[in-house]
């Protein structure tokens, strides 16, 4: 199982930064606010957890691969959710599949 490298190329354009996320009743991402507008999430394809370099204090991240109403596939993650590490809570964009 390869570890995530946030700067890894992947045939996709990647962006990082804080993200606003709206959750549904089950706690799953339902919408993302990006570059001035809300994008609706139509489907969560996959969810996984990643503890990262816990020995260096990195906190656990929860990843979601989502399909937006526009058809785009994005990967976002949430950290500071009480995983193995501890740290700042928040949503981040990890990868956009072109």
């Amino acid at each position: 199982m390869k570890r995530h490298d946030a700067s890894a190329p992947g045939g996709a354009s990647a962006g990082r930064g804080p993200l606003q996320v709206r959750l549904d009743a089950d706690g799953q991402p339902a919408g993302l606010f990006w570059q001035g507008r809300w994008q609706r999430v139509v489907r969560v394809l996959e969810t996984w957890h990643d503890t990262g370099q816990w020995w260096d204090g990195e906190e656990e991240k929860v990843f979601y691969r989502v399909v937006l109403a526009s058809g785009a596939v994005w990967e976002i993650y949430r950290s500071g959710s009480g995983g193995v590490g501890a740290g700042e809570a928040g949503w981040h964009l990890y990868r956009i599949y072109d």
Partner: protein, 1040 residues
């Protein structure tokens, strides 16, 4: 409801980060009704798992994650047949493939599928891994084959609940596949630890297992911390899209019953002759043996034997006794020396069968300590054999009972402080030299006590090891303390079963090429199987060799007829001159002998028993000695103690006495007494002792004993609560101890040569044994290429004053680097073609590597041919170059070189000090002067005494003594404070040194540093009976 069906314990060897107890407790706390364990290709955790589940009321499901030709499969036993089939599958997987690479083939799965559930396994399973690669056809074909083997009702596709990338699509694909094949799906978490917070420990263990560091990437490293024993709500959430996967865990669990029957003995049937039954044959043998041992049978002997036989046959143990009788009979017939030990010596039947040499009737030993109707515990007879032939005896057992019914018992190599530091420290990328520095200095403490040891032991405090840097290491070590690291072979334990062993345990090959079961001795006992301990005792090998050598000159010498009352032997013992004597040679024993003044075998037996943690911590040693010498009156706290403690002067020496006290004072039933014995010898937990103590006092008060007296009496028992000997065991050992003392006294050359040939054994290294032999007038003869055999031998020397003298010739085996082949080849070549005439001749006739030749020259093996060792080493390359010439040595081979070659340059030989140091480097000892002799003049000039001189100084004299330190050690003490005992050795003898706690705290880092240098110790002389000792005040490395 949810049941975890795929769970790894520490018996997955560095792949399980929570103990079985922690896993079971966690499941119980979560309200789960059942739990499975599925370790990698073994069921080693099965017995402990079942016992832990019994305590918590959870149903245990036994299983394993099996490596098959179709990847990992999770197999669960539904019933006993299924468990037996699982054992057969695992046996085929191990025995049919190279060690460490088990793999079960599909034919075996098909042959032994009954009674099993099969789950398709984790991502590394064939089916899941092919789905992930998009190879759906292959996945379907494999699933179809497994369904056809196990049946659609018993084969499930395993959904993954670990929140890994691709899990959801994988699970959906598995659900679709299951529907297509008409099989079910089941959800698992592939558990490797109990709680999420245990993940770091698991990750570090994975690095240790894969020999990687935390910073490294490795496919076996888990991406997240989801492999824990999650509660059912969480599992329901994970499998929300597939609720049937959750429901099926319960359906499967409900169909699995506990498969192990614990505690019910199953004995192999002994093949008895003719119309006999096992009972009648046993009786016949016992009466025959009794006539040999006792001659005319007195009524009390006959009654005792009858009583023992009745108990044995009532409990159904006659086959077991016959089995052991047969094994020792075989040994006797082959001339293999043996000695029964342990509580079997409580049995007169065992004595009459020739299993032990202790007359239990004459010694008043209670048979009930060994076997009783109330306890109905299985007998456990251990027998020591001459170490060289123990495997022959073992081979006989295999041949007699069949390879399907005999297997060696396993043992688990577990994490202790040193192994934890090394293995885990590498994973944490701590530099190797720092780990080495720490590990070498760690005493033998548990892996959970490293941080405590850093505070307690001065050699660690002084080491300047920064604890903060190692905190993660210490914390992880604590978490894995006592976890098994790998399976190994128990030394000597064989399990013999009436039914095929594979009904109970898979079999696999050990590193030594033995077939072992997957359970250790405790598990084997819990399973009710018979275990026979065929132990190796090198002391018996030494005795055998010594006797053979003595008999060459005195054919009538009979070890078994050695008189037990030889005054010269007791005089020697009373002077503490016991180096080499079995069980009596440690400094503590030597000091004791000096004070005890042993006069008979009983005293020796008491000696063997008294220098043990039990009596020491119970503060029995001083009162025993004082009362035996008549310096203190013998008193009993309660009249009921008198008949129990009379023979040991009122103190508790033997385990049996503890049990008798509990019975007499507190009216303990045999069951209570057994619980006490277990707490004392196995559990040793302070909490358990305190609890049984309260029960003891309560019962004692009910019997009319005052609470205060009861409390004091229990404190004797509690103080004894570490390991002590049972009397029978002490008696068995005492006989060998006395007889080896006799050999030391009367045949020192023969006996010490035998000890040296059978090293490593005993307490002391070969150099100490040689020094002791010299002190007894035996000359140590150097290695000689034309006289040395492989082993140490004795040579008769020219008589002096009409007395025959012997020397010990150092054996070739002592030479560093010498191979087993050379040990055979050198004497054989001498015998075939005569002595070696020169180094060149040797090099032509024997193909020895250069380093071994150098070592032979350096240690003086060629001195009789070429006295100048330095010149020989200088010439060696040319000699070797010429050694390629064919044919036997030529007439001029007395010279190093043929006449045409130039002679070697004139070089001065090594100084005697240099020769000594080289001998020491090559042999680990020297035939020449003692190391300290080289510095004696300089030391004397500084007022530093020899050990002999110091020993003659009056009580209280302050002295300085220098010498080589011998085995500093810290035995347990009653107070819990540390006292270090060591000896200082020089050319005149040995002086025992005691280092009390306050001195130890200042200088302990020198005593337990590495390497250990010669020391200069200052302190005051104390005399105790016949022995002098030095109470250390200051310790320093010797500066010469």
């Amino acid at each position: 409801m949810f049941v975890h069906l795929h769970v790894h314990t520490p018996f997955s060897f560095l792949d399980g980060a929570s103990s079985i107890k922690a896993l079971v407790s966690r499941a119980a706390a979560l309200g789960m009704t059942a739990l499975a364990i599925t370790d990698h290709d073994n069921v080693s955790g099965a017995v402990r798992f079942q016992k832990a589940c019994q305590e918590t009321g959870i149903r245990p499901i036994q299983g394993a994650e099996v490596t098959t030709s179709l990847g990992h499969l999770t197999l669960l036993a539904r019933d006993q047949r299924g468990y037996a089939n699982l054992c057969r599958i695992l046996t085929q997987a191990h025995m049919g493939h190279p060690r460490g690479q088990p793999e079960a083939d599909l034919e075996t799965l098909a042959q032994y599928h009954e009674g099993l559930f099969a789950l398709s396994g984790c991502r590394r399973g064939y089916i899941s891994s092919h789905i992930l690669r998009g190879e759906l056809a292959e996945a379907q074909e494999a699933a179809r084959r497994l369904r056809d083997i196990f049946g659609s009702a018993h084969f499930f596709l395993e959904l993954e609940g670990n929140l890994l990338p691709g899990s959801q699509s994988l699970n959906q694909a598995l659900v679709d596949l299951a529907a297509a094949l008409g099989v079910g799906v089941v959800g698992t978490a592939n558990v490797h630890y109990a709680e999420k917070s245990d993940f770091p420990v698991h990750d570090i263990l994975t690095c240790a297992r894969t020999l990687t560091k935390l910073e490294d990437v490795h496919p076996e490293r888990r991406l997240n911390a989801q492999n824990y024993l999650a509660p059912e709500e969480e599992m329901a959430r994970v499998f929300a899209r597939h609720p049937e996967a959750v429901a099926n865990t319960v359906r499967i669990a409900e169909q699995c019953e506990p498969v192990l029957t614990l505690g019910r003995p199953t004995f192999p049937a002994f093949p008895v002759p003719g119309d006999e039954t096992a009972a009648s044959f046993l009786r016949q043998l016992v009466w025959q043996g009794a006539r040999k041992r006792y001659g005319t049978l007195r009524p009390e002997v006959a009654q005792r034997l009858q009583k023992e036989l009745d108990i044995i046959t009532t409990l159904g143990y006659e086959d077991y006794f016959l089995l052991v009788w047969d094994v020792v009979r075989f040994a006797r017939a082959r001339g293999i020396r043996y000695s029964g030990r342990g509580s079997a010596a409580d049995s007169a039947v065992a004595y009459c069968l020739g299993i032990t040499e202790v007359d239990a009737i004459r010694r008043g030993l209670l048979f009930e300590r060994f076997l009783s109707l109330e306890r109905a515990e299985k007998p456990d007879i251990d027998v020591d054999f001459d170490a060289r032939y123990r495997d022959d005896v073992s081979a006989y057992v295999y041949q007699k009972y069949g390879r399907d019914h005999v297997a060696a018992v396993a043992t688990y190599n577990t994490f202790q402080a040193r192994s934890a530091v090394r293995d885990l420290g590498k994973a944490l990328d701590i530099p190797a030299e720092e780990l080495d520095f720490l590990a070498r200095r760690l005493p033998y403490v548990g892996a959970d006590d490293i941080a405590g040891a850093m505070d307690r032991f001065p050699e660690l405090r002084h080491s300047r090891i920064p604890q903060w840097k190692f905190q993660r290491l210490f914390d992880t070590a604590r978490a894995v303390a006592n976890f098994p690291r790998h399976l190994a072979t128990h030394l000597g334990g064989l399990v013999i079963s009436r039914d095929p062993i594979v009904n109970f345990s898979p079999l696999q090959m050990s590193a030594k090429g033995q077939v072992i079961c997957q359970f250790d001795k405790d598990d084997v006992e819990d399973l009710g199987l018979v275990k026979l301990d065929l132990l190796s005792l090198r002391a018996l090998s030494a005795v055998e060799d010594a006797v053979a050598t003595i008999q060459r000159r005195r054919p009538g010498f009979d070890y078994d007829a050695i008189p037990l009352d030889d005054k010269a032997t007791y005089r020697m013992l009373n002077q503490g001159q016991t180096i080499g004597v079995f069980q009596l040679e440690s400094p503590a024993q030597r000091a004791l002998q000096g004070r005890l003044g042993a006069e008979n075998l009983e005293d020796i037996i008491d000696s063997v028993a008294i220098i043990r943690p039990g009596p020491i911590k119970g503060n029995m040693v001083e009162p025993f000695l004082a009362r035996r010498r008549g310096e203190e009156p013998v008193s009993y706290l309660h009249p009921k103690l008198k008949p129990i403690l009379e023979k040991t002067y009122g103190v508790v020496l033997f385990q049996e006495q503890v049990i008798e006290i509990a019975t007499a004072i507190a009216g303990f039933s045999p069951g209570d007494a057994d619980r006490l014995r277990r707490v004392m010898t196995h559990a040793r937990s302070p909490a358990d002792m305190a609890e049984i103590g309260r029960y003891f006092v309560q019962r004692a008060v009910e019997q009319g004993v005052s609470e205060k007296e009861a409390g004091t009496i229990f404190s004797y028992i509690a103080g004894y609560a570490s390991y002590g000997f049972c009397e029978a065991h002490a008696a068995a050992f005492g006989v060998t101890a006395y007889k080896t003392a006799y050999l030391v006294r009367h045949y020192p050359a023969q006996f010490y040569a035998a000890v040296l040939s059978n090293e490593p054994m005993g307490y002391y290294s070969p150099d100490i044994i040689c020094d002791e032999a010299r002190r007894r007038g035996v000359t140590i003869l150097p290695v000689d290429i034309n006289r040395s055999e492989a082993a140490f031998t004795t040579e008769e020397l020219p008589a002096r004053g009409g007395r025959v003298r012997y020397g010990i010739r150092i054996g070739l085996k002592q030479v560093k680097g010498i191979t087993a082949h050379l040990l055979l080849a050198i004497p054989a070549e001498r015998k075939a073609r005569g002595p070696f005439l020169s180094l060149a001749d040797f090099a032509r006739r024997i193909n020895a590597p250069r380093d071994v030749l150098e070592n032979l020259v350096a240690c003086g093996a060629f001195d009789s041919l070429h006295p100048n060792r330095r010149a020989m080493l200088w010439s060696l390359p040319e000699i070797l170059a010429r050694a390629g010439q064919p044919g036997p040595g030529r007439p001029d081979s007395q010279r190093l070189f043929p006449p045409a070659a130039a002679p070697p340059p004139q070089i001065a030989d090594f100084s005697s000090y240099e020769r000594f140091m080289k001998e020491w480097e090559v042999l680990g000892l020297s035939p020449g002067p003692h190391f300290m002799a080289f510095f004696r003049r300089a030391l004397a000039g500084r007022g530093i005494l020899t050990t002999k001189e110091a020993g003659y100084r009056p009580q209280g004299t302050y002295v300085q003594v220098a010498g080589l330190p011998v085995r500093p050690h810290r035995p347990p003490t009653r107070s819990g404070r540390t006292i270090v005992y060591l000896s200082l050795e020089d050319e005149t003898g040995m002086l025992d040194v005691t280092v009390f706690e306050h001195v130890y705290q200042r200088y302990g880092h020198i005593l337990f540093g590495y390497p250990l240098p010669p020391l200069l110790i200052s302190g005051s002389i104390e005399h105790r009976s016949n022995l002098a000792m030095l109470l250390a005040d200051a310790i320093a490395p010797l500066d010469v």
